[in-house]
């Protein structure tokens, strides 16, 4: 056992921190600070930031070196992400850098690698994720969007939902059913689709925070060249599972959670009750301390997975722990923000209003907090709901 964080990484951290400080434009940082929640950076900012990061070759450090990765250790990657978050840098376009990218370099054709990997690396355009459907939320195996092979094309018909920023994506990666006859999981394939293709209609879904970044995507006889199939027909389900295995610790949102804890402390220093900062009030101190304990434990759990601990229990069940704990923390922290700002939390701020209204007399730590707390009710829903995670644990850890 060697439980201490390698001290030599301190230099690496400084190097990353300095670089971000130098590179990250203030206005992008500000937008991310106010309204960039977990996984919801402004896509324009994402792409702009990727352009900047790509100069250092830092958009996809986690990829294999031959595809432009940096060969950093898991701990270095951890530090890199943590510093990005701390600095309120936007996420990269996750669909590209962490989902379709790895799928393409692992299972894609050479032509696909050539066409897409550089574009993903450079942040040339945004990628839409077409997995969920109206009838299959947590039950992905039941998806119905059909792709029928006709000559050298697939004709795709169906509907996807919860697609982030589909309205401004150039490409999308879709799970589609290519074989309705076999077992549900076996008939699914993985297609790349140009979002400007005829037959695609996109509707932005108005959300609880009055934003509308999630979309419905309707596919009506969309023609997709057969060479945009990734890997083999019928393997889509296993590619999607590969993604999950590949990104086991992402669902912890550890960087986000640590940053938002810091933000809570900051707000608790600014906000007062009877003239005394909230951070001196035991109730709020206690809530903060308990969340800090939970985050510290979660960080330990992330490290254990990153460091390849041999677990007594099934590793997928162990990974579900990160999702369960991380998603609840996202909610608890952002609700704490709301409670810290108290009555002022009930004001509605639209993300664009921040740029628009320089006369707003309210302090700078208010805008965006309630919006973030509202939308993060989603954290226990998407990517396998809390209930689904518990089912997984019961089954895989205990055989129940």
């Amino acid at each position: 056992m060697d439980l201490k964080f390698d001290a030599s990484l301190a230099d690496f951290r400084t190097m990353i921190r300095d670089a971000i400080k130098q590179d990250l434009p203030r206005e992008i940082q500000e937008r991310t600070r106010l309204f960039g929640g977990a996984n919801s950076s402004d896509p324009h900012d994402s792409l702009a930031w990727m352009k900047i990061l790509s100069k250092r070759g830092w958009t996809v450090p986690h990829w294999p070196e031959i595809y432009g990765g940096k060969n950093w250790s898991p701990l270095q990657l951890f530090i890199f992400q943590e510093e990005l978050y701390k600095a309120y840098a936007p996420d990269t376009c996750w669909g590209g850098t962490h989902m379709v990218g790895p799928i393409i370099y692992t299972f894609g054709s050479e032509a696909q690698k050539e066409q897409f990997l550089p574009a993903i690396r450079n942040g040339d355009y945004y990628w839409a994720q077409g997995f969920s459907e109206p009838g299959s939320g947590s039950d992905l195996a039941s998806l119905r969007t059909a792709a029928v092979r006709k000559g050298d094309k697939y004709i795709v018909n169906g509907q996807k939902i919860w697609t982030s920023c589909a309205y401004m994506s150039e490409w999308g990666f879709f799970l589609v059913r290519t074989d309705p006859e076999v077992k549900p999981q076996r008939g699914i394939s993985f297609l790349l689709i140009n979002m400007k293709s005829p037959g695609i209609t996109i509707r932005r879904i108005p959300q609880i925070n009055e934003e509308a970044e999630l979309c419905e995507v309707f596919l009506d006889d969309v023609e997709v060249p057969a060479e945009q199939l990734v890997g083999e027909e019928g393997q889509g389900w296993s590619y999607a599972k590969f993604l999950l295995d590949h990104e086991r610790t992402t669902s912890s949102f550890i960087y986000f959670n640590k940053r938002e804890l810091d933000r809570a402390k900051m707000i608790a220093t600014e906000e007062t009750l009877d003239g005394v900062p909230l951070i001196l009030h035991p109730n709020f101190q206690g809530r903060i301390a308990r969340l800090e304990a939970e985050i510290s434990a979660l960080e330990g759990s992330v490290m254990r997975l990153l460091a390849n601990e041999e677990f007594k229990y099934n590793e997928t069940a162990v990974a579900s722990i990160l999702k369960v704990s991380g998603s609840k923390l996202q909610q608890a922290l952002t609700e704490l923000h709301v409670d810290l700002i108290g009555p002022k939390a009930i004001r509605h701020y639209a993300s664009e209003s921040v740029d628009r209204d320089p006369y707003d007399p309210w302090p700078d730590h208010i805008p965006g907090r309630t919006s973030q707390a509202l939308i993060l009710r989603a954290s226990t829903i998407y990517g396998g709901s809390l209930q689904v995670q518990k089912n997984i644990i019961a089954k895989l850890a205990f055989g129940l």
């Binding site: 969920s132 009838g135 299959s136 939320g137 947590s138 039950d139 039941s142 939902i161 919860w162 879904i205 108005p206 959300q207 609880i208 009055e210 999630l214 906000e271 007062t272 009750l273 009877d274 109730n283 709301v338 409670d339 108290g342 009555p343 002022k344 939390a345 009930i346 004001r347 509605h348 006369y359 707003d360 007399p361 309630t370 509202l374 939308i375 009710r377 989603a378 226990t380 829903i381 998407y382 709901s385 809390l386 209930q387 518990k390």
Partner: protein
């Protein structure tokens, strides 16, 4: 003891349910967000017509002299249907303050009852947090033939559509606490207005030697009436919260019977059934807590405050549980503006923060416990 609605209350509730449900559809409420001041003028005229604006006003002022229980019953219907209009300020808070004024103003009552006047309460000042007994910075000054008021108020709920503001202030010179009536439409009153998360409205308001047309109450009596009004206001919002939760229960129960996943209605999953059961328990307890507070509304101050705070804690906790789990039961759809449950969550979140959040009321109870 009798927990059943009186015939009058049944009628009141039926009428309210019928009108509000048909008028305040989801689409209509979403459209109302774009109105300049958050007022649905047609609906407001109906409120007047149906006598709701007169319910809390004494008979001698032309009102219906309703009891607080009647008001609470009506408010549950408003909560159930997520009405964003400024009903509590004008039909609950203001009538109580105005009718306890040293010199009640019959004209204003008439204007309220007819739907012409709307009155908001301006108390919070910048940097404050539920400071209902802190000294005011806003100053009420005697001038030649009247009074002027100067100062800043923050988060004045329902101000954008208000014709009058009741402003808490200290009297220049004596430093006494006072409640003053200030017409909202004068150039010495300037407002910075905004939407709230539940589509209600509020403003930050500056008074620059604005005319106060009446000094309603001063000194200790002003303080105690003000405290009573705040507690009644809390009860009215609490009743709205109970109505909202009860709606949410029905919505969720219907949804999980309908929605299919893994080849069956999701309501067949025991985990979700138990979530519904938790919501049911919390909602029922919330209504019980409301009744406990209503029973003490005319009791001595300490008993009243205790009961109101206990109810606000229970209702606040229940609101969070019911609406959050309601969203969880809905999955992704729960996060959209197109499903009712997300509106209940926003409304319930806002109510929890109005006139004292859970933390505030826990402190109020704590302070009482230590001096018990």
């Amino acid at each position: 003891m009798d927990y059943n609605y009186s015939d009058l209350q049944k009628m009141l509730l039926d009428t309210a349910e019928r009108f509000l449900r048909s008028h305040y559809t989801l689409e209509h409420r979403r459209a109302l967000r774009k109105s300049p001041d958050g007022l649905d003028a047609d609906a407001w005229a109906q409120f007047a017509e149906l006598g709701w604006l007169a319910l809390a006003i004494p008979e001698e002022q032309g009102g219906l002299d309703g009891e607080i229980t009647d008001i609470a019953v009506l408010m549950t219907a408003f909560g159930a249907n997520l009405v964003p209009d400024p009903i509590v300020s004008t039909a609950v808070t203001a009538p109580y303050l105005l009718s306890h004024a040293d010199q009640p103003d019959s004209d204003l009552f008439e204007a309220i009852i007819s739907g012409e006047a709307r009155v908001a309460l301006a108390h919070d000042e910048p940097g404050e947090r539920y400071a209902y007994s802190a000294p005011r910075k806003t100053l009420l000054s005697k001038t030649g033939n009247g009074y002027t008021i100067s100062g800043e108020k923050q988060l004045v709920i329902d101000a954008p559509s208000a014709t009058h503001l009741i402003v808490t202030a200290q009297i220049e010179g004596s430093g006494d606490f006072a409640l003053a009536l200030v017409p909202a439409t004068q150039k010495e009153v300037s407002a910075y207005s905004y939407n709230l998360i539940d589509s209600a409205r509020a403003s930050d308001v500056k008074f620059n030697k604005a005319e106060a047309t009446a000094v309603l109450l001063t000194g200790p009596k002003a303080s105690s009436v003000f405290g009573e009004a705040i507690d009644r206001t809390s009860i009215a919002y609490g009743a709205q919260a109970v109505g909202s939760m009860e709606s949410a229960l029905q919505i969720c129960s219907a949804y999980i019977k309908e929605r299919q996943q893994f080849g069956q209605p999701i309501g067949k999953f025991q985990a979700l059934q138990h979530i519904m059961a938790d919501m049911f328990v919390a909602t029922h307890q919330a209504r019980s807590a409301l009744y406990q507070a209503l029973a003490q509304v005319d009791a001595p101050e300490r008993d009243r405050q205790r009961a109101v705070s206990l109810a606000k804690i229970t209702i606040g906790e229940a609101s969070q549980l019911v609406s959050k789990q309601g969203i969880q039961l809905h999955g992704g759809y729960g996060l959209t503006d197109e499903y009712e449950i997300s509106h209940h969550y926003r409304r319930l979140t806002a109510i929890e923060k109005l006139y004292g959040d859970i933390d505030h009321h826990v402190r109020r109870i704590g302070a009482m416990t230590q001096t018990a």
